[in-house]
């Protein structure tokens, strides 16, 4: 016999005594039972007898204790009945006391929603815990919602949350490190308990609570895994929710109040006694707190304890702490809260999120909700409901007349006889069977009416095998799987999932506008002009034509900021982009703010407007202890693009300069280069003068990278890419830096001091020296040819080549040479060297595709012939040029030719004046004689066939 049926049966016979407050007969029976099982009076007998004492004690308490269990329709039903009968003047609720103000906002929401307490600024706790987040979900089919609705809707009734504040929850965690996480969240720890391991198909909805710690009213579950396993095994059920449903929920759903209360107290007491001590200590601490708070409130409000109702989990009802009872005067010191500032709000929740967080079987909360609706219809009890509550399309059933007579004792009756199968259930089963077949068909199953018949038959048979009078939803689910599921799942969902959907499905709550934090309200207000309903749970497409409707510009700004701050996919641009110097005239967006309300709500904890939050976040990035110059430049960019606040940008820029000068590594050099280039381009294009911080950044960077260059070249940890980026900065910003007072000699010295050993870096250094004019290209070419000719060096040649490829970034004019070297390498390297290296080259090029590939392909296109036949007659330009290269003085460029040079040579006055101004002595090189050789062929051709040119001239002059 299972423990549950055991106790129920015994209780059934003991009820008359229970009414008198004496449980002598029951106690005796339990002791007998214990002796029979354990064959000696001992621990078991003590526990069983103690349970009766607990019930006795709780019932005798003057302040009425209402034991509940979470997601229990029976609790909710009993609560609704009791509240209508008793009409208490004050309701004490086992709920974090700091969450009480949130309850008033519930009427603006569609349930289930979760009350959230959130703290990002942590004081007095381990800073690693931040941000702290606690959620307490509330569903409609729960006793606490009944109590809340009654108290808030009835004038003159006070609702008091008496449990630990969220701060105390974490204080306990900190005081008890062993119990961390698990203590604050016994249910999360229970998630891995046997019987709950369902297949984990991840749904978006089940992650609605994020990584918050969950607390719940009325956690009632065996403290030991072993006990639970035992109960499940002998109860012939798969998981805890099913056990509860079958052995407690169903028998109690039609029970009278006294029966309900006594049974719940008994179960609570049993689990409490079989709990491990750590858990128990925590429970007792909370009970002390709650009773003290209640007594304080009673004293302050001068209410009679008889007018109050204390709603708590059944586990806490049978408490043995000395503070128990309205008349107790045991002192208890309530700990001060820490300095942590807690923020509170409502976030949407869902059945699947609750199940995932509290380790319940999948679909159990939905089944509870369905049972609640059914129980309401059958019992005719009118539930309490907050006025204006959303999502209450269904009409509440007519209220049954409530008699004022004391509750009749129906305990013995129903506990000894099984619940009668309602006519409705038969009908319901048929409807379900038909519906599941329809649903299965829609999901690709080959299901037919024959399957519907088989499902009904199998459900009834299964219920029979499992010793139930009528099929439970769980039996139905098994039957549907047996009859419909074949060897493969044709669609996305299997039959189990379809059953869950059928039995109520997942319900997702929504927080109403009025209950949203100011930031979220502000965002919704500002997005109003879009004309899109953002409360809908589907993805909304917003189209913005900024040219024809300039007023939408403000909306666009808001959307870009949200896009920056919210996780991916919530505010998603489909068309349009906003970057430095880029603005779209048309934008289209996919918005799912209705579905992902939680993120917006949590953003609301950080500030009052999104601009303020963004500013805070950027500031945080730039002033973080591990901030880097590149991150600060990123923040500058964001601030420029999204906020456009000049003062703030300058502040961030100054911080970037500060960070750069303090940096000792050059890991971020590529990022820094990319960003500062973009910023400079932006400022040059849009402003008359560079901002001060920008100038400072360039001069500081020039000096900084010059200093670090020799070390970066030699150090193994610094990659080629970083060094290339440093050189890129130095060469690219040189003109600006020199104009701002930097010294070119600094760079020359730095390069001269560099003595790299790695081949790639050596190649990079050579490129730098060529750029500086210290090394001539022909020398470099010779060097490379020598290397290719030397069999001992050839294996290392690919490394050099990598270096050259990287040199494209700092020295873009190096491209022809890189193409040349690469062609030679491909031409002459042996396959066993070339082939292993090729993938690496491809990877390098792919990684830096944006910077390197266009330069290289353009150059290659210019060098190589465009068609195959031309290839035969083609000689590489370097081979054609080579014998004629007249370069005698390294570093001195040959005299340029062309129309510009000709013009300048013809009118030298301006250049002479400029040279004089710089204190130089102008010397004019002789221009190469005659017209440029390149164009001579063209002029010859034109000379021979002048007709076309003449016709063109005539056309132009006409």
């Amino acid at each position: 016999m299972t423990p549950a049926t055991d106790t129920s049966a015994d209780m059934g016979t003991a009820t008359p005594d229970a009414q008198d407050g004496t449980f002598a007969a029951l106690r005796g029976q339990l002791r007998d039972a214990a002796e029979r099982f354990a064959e000696a009076p001992g621990a078991a007998a003590d526990i069983l007898a103690g349970m009766v004492d607990d019930v006795d004690r709780a019932l005798a308490e003057e302040l009425e204790i209402f034991p509940v269990c979470h997601h229990s329709p029976a609790s909710a039903l009993a609560m609704a009945r009791r509240l209508r009968e008793k009409r208490p003047k004050v309701v004490y609720l086992e709920l974090c006391e700091d969450m009480r103000p949130l309850l008033d906002e519930l009427r603006n929401c569609r349930l289930p929603v979760a009350l959230q307490a959130f703290a990002s600024d942590v004081q007095g706790f381990d800073p690693e815990w931040a941000p702290l987040s606690v959620v307490a979900p509330i569903t409609e089919a729960s006793a606490e919602y009944q109590a809340i609705a009654y108290a808030l809707e009835t004038p003159g009734v006070e609702l008091v949350a008496v449990d630990w504040s969220t701060d105390h929850v974490f204080q306990w965690e900190e005081s008890d490190p062993a119990a961390r996480r698990t203590a604050a969240d016994p249910d999360a720890a229970a998630a891995s308990r046997p019987g709950d391991e369902e297949d984990s198909e991840e749904d978006g909805e089940s992650a609605l609570h994020g990584d918050a710690v969950g607390i719940e009213l009325g956690d009632l579950r065996p403290g030991f895994a072993e006990l639970e396993e035992y109960l499940l095994h002998h109860g012939r059920v798969r998981h805890w929710s099913e056990w509860w449903d079958q052995y407690v929920e169903q028998p109690l759903s039609g029970a009278g109040y006294d029966a309900y209360r006594q049974a719940m107290l008994l179960v609570g007491s049993l689990f409490r006694r079989l709990r491990d001590t750590g858990d128990l200590r925590r429970s007792e601490e909370r009970e002390r707190f709650m009773w003290t708070r209640m007594r304080q409130h009673l004293a302050a409000s001068e209410l009679d304890a008889g007018d109050a109702l204390y709603v708590c989990g059944a586990l806490h009802a049978a408490s043995r702490v000395e503070q128990f009872g309205a008349r107790s005067d045991a002192p208890y010191e309530i700990a001060e809260r820490t300095g942590t500032r807690w923020l509170h709000g409502l976030i949407p929740s869902s059945h699947s999120a609750i199940e995932a967080q509290f380790g319940l079987a999948r679909g159990s909360v939905s089944i509870a909700a369905a049972t609640w609706e059914k129980a309401l219809k059958r019992s005719g009890v009118a539930p309490f409901r907050l006025a204006g509550q959303k999502g209450t399309s269904r009409k509440a059933p007519k209220a049954a007349p409530v008699s004022d007579a004391p509750a009749e004792d129906r305990l013995s009756g129903f506990l000894t006889t099984p619940p009668e199968p309602g006519v409705l259930d038969e009908q319901e089963l048929l409807t379900w069977a038909v519906d599941i077949v329809r649903l299965a068909r829609r999901n690709g199953y080959m299901a037919s009416t024959a399957d519907a018949i088989a499902v009904v038959e199998t459900s009834v048979l299964l219920a029979g095998v499992r010793g139930r009078n009528r099929p439970t939803p769980y039996d139905f689910q098994d039957a549907a799987i047996t009859c419909i599921e074949k060897d493969t799942v044709p669609g996305r969902r299997d039959v189990r999932r379809l059953c869950e959907i059928l039995l109520g499905g997942d319900r997702v709550g929504q927080v109403g506008y009025a209950a949203l934090p100011p930031l979220a309200q502000n965002v919704l207000d500002r997005l109003e002009p879009l004309g899109v309903d953002l409360t809908k749970r589907t993805v909304q497409r917003a189209l913005l034509d900024l040219r024809s409707e300039p007023r939408l510009q403000a909306c666009s700004d808001v959307l870009w900021i949200l896009h920056r701050m919210l996780p991916d996919g919530i505010v998603r641009p489909i068309m349009g982009s906003r970057r430095l110097g880029e603005r779209s005239v048309q934008e289209s967006w996919d918005l799912s703010l209705g579905r992902d309300q939680r993120w917006l709500v949590e953003l609301g904890y950080e500030g009052v407007t999104i601009e303020q939050v963004l500013e805070q976040r950027l500031r945080k990035i730039a002033w973080a202890p591990d901030a880097t110059a590149s991150a600060a430049l990123g923040a500058v960019e964001d601030a420029l693009v999204l906020l456009g606040n000049r003062r703030f940008v300058d502040e961030l820029g100054a911080r970037a300069v500060e960070l750069l000068s303090a940096e000792r590594t050059v890991d971020d050099a590529p990022d820094v280069l990319k960003r500062v280039r973009r910023l400079l381009a932006h400022y040059r294009a849009s402003e008359p003068e560079l901002p001060a911080w920008c100038k400072e950044f360039v001069t500081e960077g020039y000096a900084h990278y010059c200093t670090l260059l020799p070390t970066a070249f030699t150090e193994d940890e610094t990659g080629v890419r970083q060094v290339a980026a440093m050189l890129g900065f130095l060469f690219g910003m040189e003109s600006l830096a020199l104009s701002l007072g930097c010294d070119h000699a600094q760079l020359e010295i730095a390069v001269a001091q560099s003595h790299p050993e790695a081949p790639a870096k050596v190649a990079l250094l050579w490129a730098a020296r060529v750029q500086l004019g210290v090394l001539s290209r022909s020398d470099l070419r010779e060097r490379c040819d020598e290397m290719l000719g030397n069999p001992l060096v050839v294996p290392a040649f690919p490394h050099y080549l990598s270096g050259f490829v990287h040199a494209l970034e700092p020295v873009p004019t190096f491209a022809p040479f890189v193409v040349e070297v690469m062609s030679k390498a491909f031409g002459s390297l042996p396959d066993h060297l070339l082939l292993p290296w090729l993938p690496r080259l491809v990877m390098t090029l792919r990684e830096h595709a944006a910077e390197l590939v266009p330069v290289l392909t353009r150059e290659a296109g210019r060098t190589f012939p465009g068609s195959l036949p031309a290839l035969d007659a083609w000689t590489p330009p370097w081979e054609a040029v080579r014998p004629r290269e007249p370069d005698s003085r390294a570093g001195v460029p040959s005299a340029p030719s062309g129309p510009v040079a000709e013009l300048l040579a013809a009118h030298p006055a301006a250049c002479d004046a400029a040279a004089a101004l710089f204190g130089l002595d102008p010397v004019w090189q002789a221009a190469p004689a005659g017209p440029a050789s390149a164009s001579s062929a063209a002029s010859e051709l034109l000379g021979r066939h002048p007709d076309a040119a003449g016709a063109l001239a005539a056309l132009l002059t006409r």
Binding site: M1, T458, D478
Partner: protein, 395 residues
């Protein structure tokens, strides 16, 4: 003789045969069918069973469950019935219920997950006859499912009911008992399709005969088929046939505790069959289970079939390994099961392809077993040695 009379006499003969078999005990049989082996248990259950029985079932569904899964206190029996099939309770319940309904039962799963054993137990408990089996192979023909003719008798007497040889399925129909079809997906589609009419119309017509040419199924007739999920795609079931079967998928047992129970249970049985008195030390059982668990993890993580052992690493495979080791120690050893023997049995049973399987085992031995032997010592060291030797011998 009317139909019912015949059925009665058929039933009587089969029962008589069963009880005789039971009487002669399991002595003369290498492997007794479940209804013979557990005849006494079944008799007892039948005597105390007062629950409603569907059709001609010998036990009520609850008692069938108790027979297969073992009794619990809640069943209110005054003696303990041991568990015979280990696995999720739901599977058994769903299977029993399916047999009581209009549809056939198809047990599907990886090889070695206990499908056939469950089918045998179900048939034994429901109708005391688990021997009406058709084995599905590529060579199975429609005759094996319906009926064939005794040729010499046909020549002598012509076609009549006497010269007809009923198939096990037809016998089951006539007797209103459960017929079994092993490896349904191994047989070709036309053979499978012959089952459709049997399962829906519940009769077989014999067009060769002029009268008495239809064999109707008696109430209680049902079919338990098994199919190997690794064979999927060889001969896929038609949707018409699928519709007539309820599928119960039996997963590979991965829970270490229940796996240990299964291995222990089956090995004890095998030992009894071989009449061997030999103790299996719990530490060795642990090593075996642990190795299989490790190999399964490795197999799940492998990306190609070459990195995966050919074996399905099922529970049955473990039993095979243990049995092999025990027999080896009994006949060639000193009557004690040693870790080295176990290791060489394991290598010998799992190394089917050379060099792929050997390479995997070699890697496993060096990567995992060596680590465990260093960390845990004890029997693992012997296990390490034995495995190494066996791998060296084979490669």
């Amino acid at each position: 003789m009317t139909e019912t009379d015949k059925a009665k006499s058929g039933k009587a003969t089969s029962e008589k045969a069963t009880s005789e078999k039971a009487q002669s005990g399991t002595q003369d049989m290498l492997r007794a069918p479940a209804e013979v082996k557990y005849a006494e248990e079944l008799d007892y259950l039948e005597s105390v069973d007062d629950g409603p029985k569907p059709f001609t079932w010998r036990l009520s569904p609850k008692m069938v469950r108790a027979f297969i899964l073992g009794s619990e206190r809640a069943d209110g029996l005054d003696r303990e019935i041991p568990q015979k099939w280990f696995g999720d309770r739901t599977f058994v319940e769903r299977s029993i219920v399916t047999l009581a309904s209009d549809r056939g039962l198809l047990l599907i799963g990886d090889p070695g997950t206990g499908k056939s054993w469950l089918a045998e137990l179900l048939a034994a408990a429901v109708c005391r006859n688990s021997t009406l089996v058709v084995q599905g192979t590529a060579g199975t023909t429609e005759d094996h499912i319906k009926y064939s003719w005794n040729v010499s008798m046909v020549i002598a007497k012509g076609q009549s009911r006497e010269s007809l040889i009923p198939s096990p399925i037809m016998t089951a129909m006539e007797g209103g008992v459960v017929g079994r079809f092993e490896e349904l997906t191994r047989s070709t589609s036309d053979v499978q399709d012959a089952l459709i009419s049997i399962l829906s119309e519940k009769y077989v017509s014999i067009p060769e005969l002029d009268d008495d040419n239809i064999v109707f199924a008696k109430p209680g007739f049902s079919i338990i088929a098994t199919a190997n999920s690794r064979d999927r795609g060889v001969n896929d079931l038609s949707s018409a046939l699928k519709r007539r079967f309820n599928f119960v998928r039996i997963p590979v047992v991965t829970n270490k505790k229940s796996e240990a129970e299964i291995v222990r249970f089956r090995t004890t049985e095998l030992l009894r069959r071989h009449r061997i008195e030999l103790e299996v030390p719990p530490t060795l059982l642990d090593i075996l289970l642990q190795s299989f668990a490790d190999l399964r993890t490795a197999s799940a993580a492998a990306t190609s079939d070459d990195e995966r052992l050919e074996s399905a690493l099922s529970t049955a495979e473990q039993i095979g390994v243990l049995e092999d080791a025990i027999l080896h120690s009994r006949f060639f050893g000193d009557d004690t099961l040693r870790a080295t023997t176990l290791a060489s049995s394991l290598v010998g049973s799992l190394a089917r392809r050379s060099p792929e399987d050997l390479a995997i085992l070699n890697k496993f031995w060096h990567g995992v077993v060596e680590g465990r032997s260093k960390k845990e010592g004890g029997e693992w060291q012997g296990f390490l040695e034995g495995g190494r030797e066996a791998i060296a011998t084979l490669s």
